[in-house]
Symmetry: C2
């Protein structure tokens, strides 16, 4: 079975670990979000791609969900001693090496997709990890300008990490997405897939950004294969992270049903909500999307594997 | 008193610590060698400038003489895990931060002299540290090609660090030096100096490279001020390092007298040799260079301060 998964960071990575366990023989291609990529200290940092790579490759800081295990912070300390910022983005020494290799390869002319493949040659994530695009896309968030009457756009990471999503987001804009081309292999993977899965990743700044690359949404909708998602909202709140903040910015309620309706029946064939949201199943089905309520808490790999198996089972239901 | 010092790495840096102790009120400008600068992992590394900066700023690894104290090597380990080399150049995590800041500033368009000043704002070395040039100069060493009948040029660091100067050097070429311009402040510092000192640094690849920047040698020779050097050769062998290897490449014997004659009386007014080389004093004086034998082992800051005081005293003798 050939499975395509659209993935953001922590939620996507953990779901993928469960999926690999549930479908060990599947051929899995991950299309990773690069909208939250950022240049820090002259280095190209790809948080979502790295979280997937480290998680599936056994290098992730388990409790934290991002960054490396057994990490140290000598470089960061020194940068602070030089007075060079920003100081709000936590890059560890081991993580720095990844960004140094990536930046050096990109400086030598390799596209991000080739660099990602080279990095994965070490990590052996057991999936084919593709960036959504080799072009530069940066998710910006429009917030009130604290130093003026107007509004200003900040990089997603500044909104998410520095400001902890504590101020209202008026809009979320994947800058550059309209001019971006899908990375080599992305459209081919979708066209050749048996099923497309949306993990419980952020529907706006993770999966939404991937879908904003021209051609991706169309390829998925036109592939004629089951497209099944898992709700990142459980009991009207995000399972982790602050997805509600950016859902508000795009005018979507923080409910498991509203997220499914936001994707829409033109794209989504099946949707899993948590058992606590069983009351929302009818609303989703009324929108033309097959829906089922199952436990959706990724407490460990076994629980996550059961979620993935439910998603694959729902895909077979809608295919039939 | 305004003192200009031409400095390489370890020898120059340790001498400068003694000089600051011997002449605490002096206004010291250091013209640093950049011929052994190298790009590693996409980052600009300036070993000699950093050794001076770390040594005078209190951050040096004392026993080793280069690199940072309390250093760790997580980044290097990770780069090796990615299979990215070279692995023969020992960059520590704290040191990496310096190169990251430098590379980022240079990428933003700042010349090396401005970057060096910014880095020194943290380290407060107590001297004005100038690179010899803002232009790219790379010292290459011509060696026998192990994979052919001919010869090949390798970067100085490859010859020095990877090969440990274990193969014959047929020539030493400061590539780019002929097109280089002295960095801002270099010629002005020489013109305004009361004395110029050559520490016991490598006469070929450190001081020789600085003198190869068009205008520097002429400015020193024409300044009409005492120019005094200290022999890096004691008892016919380098005090540290492998200066004899590169002296052979330029056809100079490894003796305290031959190095003075190599600089020549047109440049050098005074020369200190070690007491074990007292027998060489006459030969140096016969070449028109005032010479004195004093202890030249930089065993600690006090001994080094006495050497610096002797050099300054010799400068006053030749001035009189």
């Amino acid at each position: 079975m050939r499975i395509v998964v659209l993935a953001g960071g922590i939620g996507g990575a953990r779901f993928l670990r469960g999926l690999k366990s549930a479908a060990p023989d599947a051929d899995i291609t991950v299309i990773g979000n690069t909208g939250d990529d950022i240049h820090l200290f002259g280095l190209k940092v790809c948080p979502d791609l790295d979280t997937v790579m480290y998680t599936l490759g056994g290098g992730i800081h388990e409790e934290q969900g991002w960054g490396r295990t057994d990490e140290s912070f000598a470089v960061k300390e020194e940068l602070a001693a030089y007075g060079v910022g920003p100081d709000w983005f936590g890059l560890g020494d081991r993580d720095f090496a990844t960004h140094i290799v990536r930046t050096q390869m990109m400086g030598a002319g390799y596209p991000l997709s080739a660099v990602t493949e080279a990095l994965c040659a070490r990590w052996q994530p057991g999936v084919r990890l593709l960036p959504m695009t080799d072009d530069r896309v940066e998710t910006h968030v429009l917030i009130d300008d604290p130093e003026g009457d107007g509004r200003k756009a900040v990089h997603f990471q500044e909104y998410w990490v520095r400001l902890r999503a504590s101020v209202p987001a008026h809009a979320v804009v994947p800058v550059g997405a309209d001019q971006a081309k899908p990375a080599p292999g992305v459209l081919e993977a979708i066209a050749g897939a048996d099923v497309v899965l949306f993990p419980p990743s952020n529907p706006v700044v993770s999966i939404g950004t991937i879908l904003a690359v021209p051609g991706v949404r169309e390829a998925i909708a036109d592939a004629g294969i089951p497209v099944v998602g898992l709700s990142p909202i459980v009991g009207d709140a995000p399972v982790r992270g602050m997805a509600d903040k950016v859902l508000a910015a795009v005018g979507v309620e923080s409910t498991a049903a509203a997220v499914a309706q936001h994707y829409g029946s033109g794209l989504l064939d099946g949707w899993l909500v948590d058992t606590v949201d069983a009351g929302r199943v009818d609303a989703v089905e009324a929108a033309g999307i097959r829906c089922k309520a199952v436990p959706l808490m990724m407490t460990d790999t076994e629980a996550t594997a059961r979620m993935a198996a439910e998603a694959l089972a729902l895909a077979e239901e809608v295919r039939a």
